[in-house]
Amino acid sequence: MVMEIVCPAGTPAALRAAVKAGAHTVYCGFNDETNARNFPGLNFDRAEMREGVAFAHTHGAKVLVAINTFPRAGDEVIWHRAVCDAGASGADAIILADPGLLDYAARNHSGLRRHLSVQAAAANADAINFYAESFGIKRVVLPRVLSVSEIAEINAETRVETEVFVFGGLCVMAEGRCSLSSYVTGKSPNMNGICSPASHVEYHETDGVLDARLGGYTIHRIAKDASAPYPTLCKGCFGAGDKSGHLFEDPVSLNAEQLIPQLLKAGVTALKIEGRQRSRSYVVQVVRNFRAAVDALENGKPMPKGMLANLSEGQAMTTGAYKKTWR
């Protein structure tokens, strides 16, 4: 294996499908606020996690459990229990962001491999090495603020494995350091594992024009027959000075498939696909394509081209911060 494909699984069925489609590794979370995709109907209860890990192991795949929100003061025990239960389920590693929780896991579950979540936003080799010295992390999921050459520089200066996002939703703000959603809806990625929740979205139609509002603020306005992007706050439409438009980011999603050879050269260990909230068929298709890409790379064959364009739900694709001009 030249590069590990790390796939999302929002449900036990998605986990099994991803493993069968060729995922080297699957990541998932418990069905509560301990993980950053705390959506209704998603994620695993304790028994499902044990069964999911057993299934993956039988098929030669690994399971990572994301416990990557920031524990609420006074309720840390909920997050501590998640760490214990992940270990008991036989998971191969846990993905954590909070220093206090990392410290707890390092002290009490030292044998359970620890990965640093993207939510920790460790964006340089000094910070990554500091997390490694302090908490024994073996892998870091890099924040989506770095160019490929910066990732190469990081790998030259650390022994911690690096995992990077290659496909799916794209945070334009440094992850784990954004309270935009919480400002407008009261629900935050850091505390609740939720960003721009559907419960706070409203659509209003007037004279053939459809407004999409988040927390009462209109951030999309389109003809009612056009396809309406979901009103994620940072990808909304705003005005500033004499300009208007998608001032932070267009409604795009990340696709770095053509950068895989460069990411390999930059020393990246694992390629991460976003989307635990996505359907099983979506996950299968993305996994198959990325697996084909890394297998081609391993066998010295050319990369398959443009294979995932149809999966972006009509959204434009970007390579995000991996190309420096994005900034």
Partner: protein, 301 residues
């Protein structure tokens, strides 16, 4: 309760920057954190003013700390952050990168952009030498109270974001540059035109956020005046005021009077509205359903 002045989040010309600290030397505040928090490209423009600012504040009896950058990616930024450890001035870390350069046992403080959400993180930071923590603005009063108690047990002073536009996000991308069709590397310092950030409006033309280079702030000014009693009872040691381009020294006086029980919260609100009738206030992170909410009389939006 003490008053702390946080680092100026915006890009001001050196003269204006220096004038703030000259004025603060005689203002009724206890502690001043200065230096560059948001963008490493700004620092060279006023860096040579920092030693004089530190000297005059220290001479006036203020505690002084230097902030570390919020987001450190480049070699130059790592060096900038590492150099802070050698200044001999207390460092306020605003990213754990800043802590990686401090020899173990060095006393330091923690700024609002480090995610201190729970006792475990507070205890760990205290074990590394943290003596003061300004909590993230997002935290509700219940969390503040729990953390203030843990802080008291450990001798760590707990501070709360008291007034000013709230830092909501930091990015690798510069939005000011993007607005002008430029990249971050060729930004031409567009953010300098907006000493309190540039208003970002919704499609209904409501002022909503404030753009500040790589940072995104609330358009509303966090205002803790109606929560002071609750914060005091919780054991919070200090209130943080974030610099703004006009009326800031007056604001320091108003909060000092409030903390000394010489006026009530409404007096401060009335004075703020008098100086800017369009001011939008919020205290929803502390006490409301969402950050933008305001517990006082409706304010104009």
């Amino acid at each position: 309760m003490q008053l702390t002045v946080g680092p100026n989040q915006f890009f001001w010309p050196a003269q204006r920057w220096a004038a703030l600290y000259t004025d603060l030397a005689s203002a009724p505040v206890d502690r001043v954190v200065l230096g560059e928090l948001v963008c490493s490209k700004r620092l060279p423009f006023y860096q040579d003013q920092i030693p004089q600012a530190i000297a005059s504040l220290t001479e006036a009896g203020k505690q002084v700390a230097l902030t570390s950058l919020a987001l450190v990616t480049l070699k130059r930024e790592r060096k900038q952050t590492a150099d802070l450890a050698a200044t001999g001035v207390e460092v306020e870390i605003n990213d754990l990168t800043g802590l990686s350069y401090l020899p173990e046992g060095t006393a330091f403080s923690v700024g609002p952009l480090v995610n201190v959400y729970n006792e475990g993180t507070l205890v760990w930071l205290a074990s590394r030498g943290a003596n003061r923590i300004c909590l993230p603005p997002e935290l509700p009063l219940a969390s503040v109270a729990t953390l203030a108690k843990t802080g008291a047990d450990l001798g760590v002073a707990i501070e709360v974001w008291g007034h000013g536009r709230q830092p909501l996000a930091i990015s690798g991308r510069c939005y000011h540059a993007r607005l002008h069709g430029r990249t971050k590397d060729n930004c031409q310092f567009a953010c300098e035109d907006d000493p309190d950030g540039l208003a970002v409006r919704t499609l209904d033309d409501q002022p909503f956020l404030a753009m500040n280079g790589v940072q995104t702030l609330s358009h509303s000014y966090a205002c803790s005046v109606h929560q002071i009693d609750a914060l005091r009872e919780s054991g919070v040691s200090a209130i943080r005021l974030s610099p703004q381009s006009s009326g800031f020294i007056d604001l320091c006086h108003l909060y000092r009077q409030l903390l000394d029980n010489e006026c009530d919260g409404q007096h401060v609100v009335d004075a703020l509205v008098k100086s800017d009738e369009n001011i939008q206030l919020s205290d929803g992170f502390l006490t409301g359903d969402r950050g933008v909410d305001w517990s006082g009389e409706p304010s104009p939006t």
